[in-house]
Amino acid sequence: MDYKTPRSVEEAVDLLTTHTGAAHLLAGGTDLLVKLRAGMAAPDLVIDLKSIPRLRGIESSPSGFRIGAATSCAEIGEHDGLKAAWPGVVEALKLIGSTQIQGRATLGGNLCNASPAADSVPALIAAGAVCEIAGPAGTREVPIENIVTGPGRTALARGEFVLAFRLPLPRARSGDAYLRFIPRTEMDIAVVGVGVAVTLDASGVCAQARVGLGAVAPTPLLVADAARALIGSRVDAQALNALAKAVSAACKPIGDKRGTIDFRIKVAGVLARRAAQTALQRAKAT
């Protein structure tokens, strides 16, 4: 197994396209190293992306935030601007694993590992994040909800990888939140994950909403019906019940060692209601 550390995007694309055998990208390594040890992955080339400047760090500009795909969650979690603007996204990515995992894990990895249960993805979906993708044909931008196509599968073409995540600056009277269910308080994979983002108009009515779901279908979901349940309401009890219904209806989960089908469907609705309430409070507070 060979190991390369490209210094530029072009170099990385070139490695990916010219390499004949199985190549695997390495960012935080928290998924890859486990797979290597378990014999679930046996690439003959590991490409470490962490030496490429364009994949590292967080830039904030009037147009919003750009988070390098290989930036560690610990680093992102320390960014005050992002915490203030998108608290739901930050609380989601801070849930990825232990303190030790936080020191390594990245948003790029969390997304491209393509697990339905990735914690950051539903929150990023709710926040309307867009991925910058580099590839042989240059870079393109894709809404994050379109990246994961199935367990372990993404829409990335050969030679492509995620460069960065773009988040807009939230509009006035906006708030987001992420909640997940795990059996313990830490160290588990999400059994259900729900991200909610809302924007209120001046009168306190929900003008915009996005709801992302995790661990309840083969891919993370953007649930339009759930958003509709909130839009036009004051996010009151009635709207929250409609939201819970819509969310549960959108769930197509499997039953496995982490939770039953019924459990996931019900708890998804419960968490959606709770997350929406938090998002609402945050929207009102801005």
């Binding site: 378990a38 059996p183 313990r184 588990d188 939770g259 419960v270």
Partner: protein, 764 residues
């Protein structure tokens, strides 16, 4: 037999025993210096790896190792063919009765693989990569057989048989057909029918628990070195270097004196390191390769192939009068043994009702083999399972009778003179004291909020003694090296050194305790049964008293007085009689300095079979909150109260209580083995085998009750095992009170709790 009397020791003023000094091995453990099983490296060492069965139950038609053998860098390969078969009889191995036919099949599958992860072959190679390649080159031809995982299925007449030579013991007439039921046991007192007839309230429930693993953080590991002349050395992480020696010598057909076993520091055992897995394989590989072989299990192997404790199905029926006296108690316990007989159902039966004073009681137990890894001991083996079921019914009875659960237990509590359900009368025991302490604890009076509940449960464990040796060597400067033969898992070097220092009257730092290898001491039974501070403590005290006798003799000689006139106090020899003022006193160091001239080195040994272990009883109180929308149970507050007899080092006694309580929280809420339809373990790692993490639990308050054990020089009882007995019952009772739903299944994981709440709500 030991004849140490506890004379006035219990009353006498103690200077060291009962204090909280720093542990003597502490610095090595906080600096990373301490050597655990996997930390040992020898020159020219090979790496050993095990090929394991992917099937839960399969006949092994053939094993072809030729391709693996031919791989450059492969130095040895062993299969069952390299171990001689042994007869199916229980014969003594050291202190244990062991069926070596089963043991030799468990370490290496013979005719059949009996569980997923069952060892089928082992390889020693120049490095891990080559060893893994070699495993892939070994060709095993399996005939997959139907498997059985659950006791009820395994007990069914048409169940797939694991062993066609197994006929149930303990049933009359003797069965003509083999079955998966290894044994039926029964304990009974009085007249059940009459007892239940007297009852005003009778409650009957069925319970289900799943296997849970000890979950020690250090995987099994060892290094074996066998030389051309058959002399062998083994370094391993174990709870008993002497039982490892005995097992391996038998399995490999060696003389025990040819095998020297040195225990490394041990990274947790909880009963799981009282058996052998890798050790005989490493020795067999090293014997072939004539090079040292190191073997370390992966976490996955630990879960798939080492012993959890039993999952069980249980039925419990208890009757009581309006005024709260239990009139009769009946139970049937069916325990999974794993692939070979030997579940802890027998101690489970004996523990089930042990905390209570019962006239009419019966417990029937079944030891049932299933296609799962052979169970190993786990902290009070058998007790927690049975007592969880019983304590749940006890709580429900108290509720039905509108009695406080502590008062109800006090009305029925076993005390000195109570005839245990398994026969003998108890000596002094401290259950009543723990119940009263619980009742008076501020925790018990704290108000609860919505969705919160408080649970109480008591627990019993026997504790044991057994073969034990200890040596004290007096150094020329008056310091003492203490050698014990029971591996120190939880700080026992501290408690042993403290007892030695107390007896010798010297400061603790004058004693350097260590754990000896099998060539440095006589036979020691293992660290288990909560026996170390009791048994090794007893041996150390006996050795120390013998050393004092020798010291008085040396002083008497130098003073030219009769030895009777010399007493020993505060680490000095003194003349007892008045009027001989010119001889004031002679310190240990002074006597040590001239030991050579006064008769030679001063060494004291004790070799005993420690008897008179005293049971330890406990009562736990726990508050939980249940999220009615997700079924998640949060432990809010926990108080563990236990009779330690005498806490030699209270911090480590508290530590045992706290650790046991939290293991119990895991058992109660989330820990379980999850198998797929093919009998393959789906959660062989710490990600999905969910032991409690730091943020899952509150501080664990402790109250140490001291009802001295009259048979120990310091009144010590074992404390290590009892703390894991009450938690499951206490938490189940707390969850029942928080939700109004009675849970009879472990673990009480969120999906199960939510489903039960919803079902109850629907039928209400």
């Amino acid at each position: 037999m030991n004849d140490i009397t506890n004379q006035s020791v219990l009353e006498r003023h103690l200077k060291i025993v009962g204090t909280r000094p720093l542990r003597p091995d502490g610095v090595d453990k906080v600096t990373g210096r301490a050597q655990f099983g996997a930390d040992i490296h020898l020159p020219n060492m090979l790496v050993g790896k095990v090929l394991r069965s992917p099937h839960a139950h399969a006949r092994i038609k053939s094993i072809d190792i030729s391709k693996a053998q031919a791989l450059p860098g492969v130095k040895a390969i062993v299969t069952a063919a390299d171990f001689s078969d042994l007869p199916s009889e229980f014969i003594p191995a050291g202190e244990m009765m062991v069926n070596f036919r089963d043991m030799t099949r468990n370490i290496m599958a013979r005719e059949k693989a009996l569980y997923e992860g069952h060892a089928v072959a082992a390889v020693a190679a120049i490095n891990e990569a080559v060893a893994n390649q070699a495993l892939n080159l070994i060709e095993v031809d399996y005939e997959v057989l139907p498997h059985v995982m659950d006791v009820d299925e395994a007990m069914a007449p048409d169940a797939p048989l694991l062993h066609d030579n197994m006929f149930t013991i303990g049933v009359e007439p003797k069965p003509a057909k083999p079955s998966n039921i290894a044994k039926r046991v029964e304990f009974a007192l009085g007249d059940l029918a009459a007892g239940f007839a007297k009852a005003d309230v009778v409650i009957e429930r069925e319970f289900l628990t799943r296997p849970v693993h000890q979950g020690y953080i250090e995987p099994h590991a060892c290094v074996a070195r066998v030389s051309e002349d058959g002399q062998a050395e083994l370094w391993c992480t174990t709870q008993g270097q002497f039982i490892v020696r005995g097992f391996c010598a038998k399995l490999l057909g060696m003389e025990v004196s040819k095998l020297k076993v040195t225990p490394s520091e041990i990274g947790g055992g909880f009963g799981g390191k009282t058996v052998v897995y890798l050790e005989p394989l490493a020795l067999a590989l090293s014997r072939k390769a004539c090079q040292p072989v190191k073997m370390v299990m992966s976490r996955t192997e630990v879960f798939r192939a080492t012993g959890p404790t039993s999952g069980a199905r249980m039925w419990v029926k208890i009757g009581a009068t309006k005024d709260g006296r239990i009139t009769a108690a009946d139970a049937v316990l069916k325990y999974q043994a794993g692939a070979f007989q030997g579940s802890p159902v027998q101690p489970g039966c004996m523990c089930a009702f042990a905390p209570y004073d019962l006239e009419n009681v019966r417990v029937v137990g079944y030891d049932v083999v299933v296609n799962r890894p052979k169970v190993a001991a786990y902290r009070a083996p058998g007790g927690p399972i049975a007592e969880y079921a019983v304590e749940s019914v006890i709580d429900e009875l108290a509720l039905r009778l509108k009695l406080d659960p502590i008062e109800f237990r006090l009305k029925n509590a076993a005390k000195e003179g109570t005839k245990a359900a398994y026969g003998p009368k108890f000596g002094p025991i401290g259950l009543v004291e723990t119940l009263k302490a619980a009742r008076e604890h501020p925790h018990y009076a704290t108000p609860l909020k919505k969705n919160q509940g408080r649970g109480v449960a008591s627990g019993f464990w026997f504790n044991i003694g057994g073969d034990t040796c200890a040596t004290l060597n007096l150094g020329e400067d008056g310091t003492v090296s203490l050698v014990a033969g029971t591996p120190d898992i939880g700080g026992s070097r501290a408690s042993l050194a403290m007892m030695a220092a107390e007896e010798l009257g010297v400061p603790l730092d004058k004693i350097r305790p260590s754990i000896g290898d099998t060539s440095s001491l006589g036979y020691n039974f293992l660290t288990g049964g909560s026996r170390v501070t009791f048994s090794s403590g007893m041996a150390v005290v006996e050795a120390a008293r013998d050393m004092v006798r020798q010291l008085r003799e040396r002083a008497a000689r130098m003073w030219e007085v009769p030895v009777d006139s010399v007493i020993w106090e505060d680490g000095c020899a003194r003349i007892a009689e008045a009027g001989v003022a010119e001889f004031k006193s002679m310190s240990l160091a002074e006597i040590a300095k001239t030991a050579g001239k006064t008769g030679g080195p001063i060494v004291a040994n004790a070799a005993i079979n420690a008897t008179g272990a005293g049971p330890s009883l406990a009562t736990h109180v726990v508050d939980v909150e249940v999220d009615p929308e997700t079924g998640k149970v949060t432990v809010l507050r926990y108080t563990a109260i236990q009779d330690a007899g005498k806490a030699v080092h209270p911090s480590y006694v508290e530590g045992q209580m706290q650790g046991g309580a939290v293991q119990g929280i895991g058992w109660a809420l989330n820990e379980e083995y999850i198998y797929d339809a093919k009998g393959r373990l789906e959660n062989p790692g710490f990600l999905d085998y969910r032991i409690p993490v730091c943020s899952d639990v509150p501080m664990i308050d402790t109250v140490i009750v001291e009802v001295p054990n009259p048979r120990h020089p310091y009144g010590v009882r074992g404390v290590g095992e009892t703390p894991i007995v009450p938690p499951m019952g206490a938490i189940a009772n707390a969850v029942a009170h928080a939700t109004g739903v009675r849970f009879t299944e472990l673990p009480m994981s969120p999906p199960r709790v939510l489903a039960a709440i919803d079902t109850a709500a629907a039928t209400r």
